[in-house]
């Protein structure tokens, strides 16, 4: 029973898609221009004005390899912490009865309302001054180490598993850790992927925190190095926008590829549940 699609509906969606995608297309075109061409005609690829030089340019200024590795380590550390400790916490909060569960659950919700940025100053004092973790991966990772939204998603998925499954395993004498790894985890693989995707964009895109604690260029993630280039160097370069947009493409590409490939895992229901509380 397929109703005919109203042309207005399709028109609105197409207009939306254009507004969302055009800046990305323009980012790519801009990164390939020899001379920045900001006329409307410049938005179309012009074979006479195309070059890959901007990528070499930004690489010589930022060392893309090092900054990408830094972004990777930062993101990888957060993912590892979230998957290991987040799954344990999510499972316990969904399936086990212990003292302090309600308190922890409420705290988990609270953390998602209070933006981490507001605690920047005390965290800076704590991590940089007290623990001396400036210019270190550990200092970068610590404030993000376990993503609370992911813990929440894990909990929701574990809650949805049928109770009988766990009772059967318990009768068989399996320990909680065995039940978690042998029974529950294989059943929530989709949640794992969704949570990993959601967690990935946090540290990969994060600017403020790594910006604050990394002064050494060889410790900076790509987002920080690119932002510094944007605010300091860009004004003096020959084709500042070309190099800047080339860097932007390198920063954006991994996330966009991941989210296009795994688009099925990024749907409304699990997103909604992670914020609705």
């Amino acid at each position: 029973m397929r109703r005919k699609v109203h042309p207005l509906r399709l028109l609105a969606l197409l207009a939306g898609a254009l507004v969302f995608l055009f800046p990305f297309y323009y980012m790519l075109i801009g990164s390939l221009q020899t001379e920045p061409d900001t006329t409307p005609a410049g938005a179309l690829p012009n074979p006479g004005n195309l070059t890959a030089r901007n990528y070499g340019d930004i690489n010589s200024r930022l060392d893309l390899g090092t900054t990408l590795v830094n972004s990777g380590i930062f993101t990888g550390g957060v993912l590892l912490g979230t998957v290991v400790f987040g799954v344990l916490a999510g499972y316990a909060m969904a399936r086990l009865h212990f003292r302090g569960k309600a308190l922890l659950f409420n705290l988990m919700l609270l953390v998602q309302v209070i933006p981490f940025q507001l605690l920047t100053i005390p965290l800076y004092v704590l991590i940089v001054r007290t623990y001396g973790l400036a210019d270190s991966y550990l200092g970068m990772i610590l404030p993000f180490a376990i993503n609370s939204a992911a813990v929440f998603i894990f909990r929701q998925y574990f809650l949805q598993l049928p109770r009988e499954l766990f009772e059967a395993a318990q009768i068989d004498g399996a320990s909680e850790l065995t039940i978690l790894f042998r029974v529950a985890l294989p059943l929530v693989k989709p949640a794992l992927l969704t949570a990993v995707l959601l967690t990935f964009i946090g540290p990969w895109n994060e600017f403020l925190w790594p910006f604050l604690i990394t002064k050494r260029a060889d410790m900076q993630p790509l987002a920080v190095a690119l932002a510094n280039y944007m605010s300091n160097v860009a004004a003096r370069a020959a084709n500042p926008y070309g190099a800047l947009l080339a860097g932007a493409c390198v920063l954006a590409a991994p996330v966009i590829v991941l989210f296009v490939v795994f688009q099925r895992r990024f749907v409304a229901s699990n997103l909604g549940s992670s914020v609705k509380g």
Binding site: R3, V5, R9, L10, A12, L13, A17, F20, L21, P23, F24, Y26, M27, T38, T39, P40, A43, F85, L88, A89, A92, L96, H97, F98, G100, L104, M108, V111, V113, I114, P115, L118, L119, T120, I121, P122, Y124, V125, R129, L142, E176, W204, N205, F207, L208, M230, S231, L244, L245, A248, A252, V255, I256, F259, Q263, F266, A268, L271, V275, K276
Partner: protein, 294 residues
């Protein structure tokens, strides 16, 4: 054994499972709030590591400064400007696009993905292309020609904050479209059917069934927009070159960074943070009340 159960709960192993997460929350959330409260009541400044310095108790001085310092007040006003532009735009556009998407339409996956691409991409990367689009010789001005504003967008004290607000709306819209899509699934089909039986037009059933049906999502937009506004840093720092012109697009977190880290008035910066934490908590409390009323 029985005593243990009473003390630790039926499955004490759960405590072991959540310990890392609980320690994390305590260390990265609860403890820093404590430090922030302490700092905000002292004349706290950065000193050389290891140096013994006197940081005297100053009572409410820092809080008085938060509510009297023109630059800090301006950053609060900027959040208000941000909300006035961001909330209605977000609600109208994301509900509109989500409703349009909520049907069997061709290219549905393509639309869904293209809507959330800005949301998942780093602000730093998309700010780059917005700078390219909105600088004085950028594509936007070259399309507008003589209609281009003067001074141009990002250095215009009236337009800088609205541009930041529109940028954030554009960037976050995909998330809210997904949120509304989820909310639309929860509107019972029977309501649409009975509206149709009553002879309601599509437009009318949108207003009488859809809009009230997704109200929880709409209240959530207000909450999340406030949190985002209180949170802004990357956009004013990079897009408008440090909250310019003259603080016209400065956000509280940006002012916090400037005062606390750049100028070393960490006590004052901590007080800004505490005021904002209380503010967001109050708003989320109001939000929860509104949701419970439904």
């Amino acid at each position: 054994m029985a005593l243990n159960r009473k003390l630790l709960g039926r499955q004490p192993i759960g405590i072991a499972f959540v310990t890392p997460y609980a320690v994390f929350l305590a260390g990265i959330f609860a403890y820093p709030i404590g430090i922030a409260v302490y700092m905000s009541f002292h004349d706290w400044f950065f000193a050389a590591p290891g140096a013994k310095v006197d940081r005297p108790f100053v009572g409410l001085d820092n809080y008085v400064a938060v509510f009297t310092d023109p630059a800090i007040l301006r950053s609060f006003l900027n959040i208000a400007i941000f909300l006035v532009i961001n909330v209605p735009l977000t609600v109208v556009l994301s509900l509109g696009l989500a409703s349009a998407l909520n049907a069997a339409i061709p290219l549905r996956t393509f639309f869904r993905v293209s809507f959330y691409v800005p949301y998942v991409t780093a602000s730093v990367a998309v700010v780059g292309v917005w700078l390219f689009l909105f600088n004085s010789n950028g594509l936007v001005n070259s399309v507008l020609g003589p209609l281009a504003p003067d001074p141009t967008w990002l250095v215009n004290s009236t337009l800088a904050m609205p541009v930041v607000a529109v940028f954030v709306t554009w960037k976050q819209l995909g998330f809210f479209i997904l949120l509304y899509l989820a909310a639309l699934q929860n509107v019972p089909n029977e309501l649409y059917e009975s509206a149709a039986v009553d002879g309601a037009s599509r437009w009318r059933s949108f207003w009488t069934v859809t809009v009230p049906g997704v109200r929880p999502a709409t209240t959530l937009v207000v909450l999340l927009a406030t949190i985002t506004g209180a949170n802004l840093f990357t956009e004013p720092y990079l897009l408008t070159g440090g909250g310019g012109p003259d603080g016209a697009s400065a956000s509280p977190v940006l002012v916090m960074y400037q005062r606390g880290i750049e100028q070393g008035q960490a006590g004052l910066a901590a007080a800004i943070g505490i005021v904002l934490v209380i503010g967001t908590l109050l708003i989320s409390l109001v939000n929860r009340r509104l949701l419970e009323r439904d």
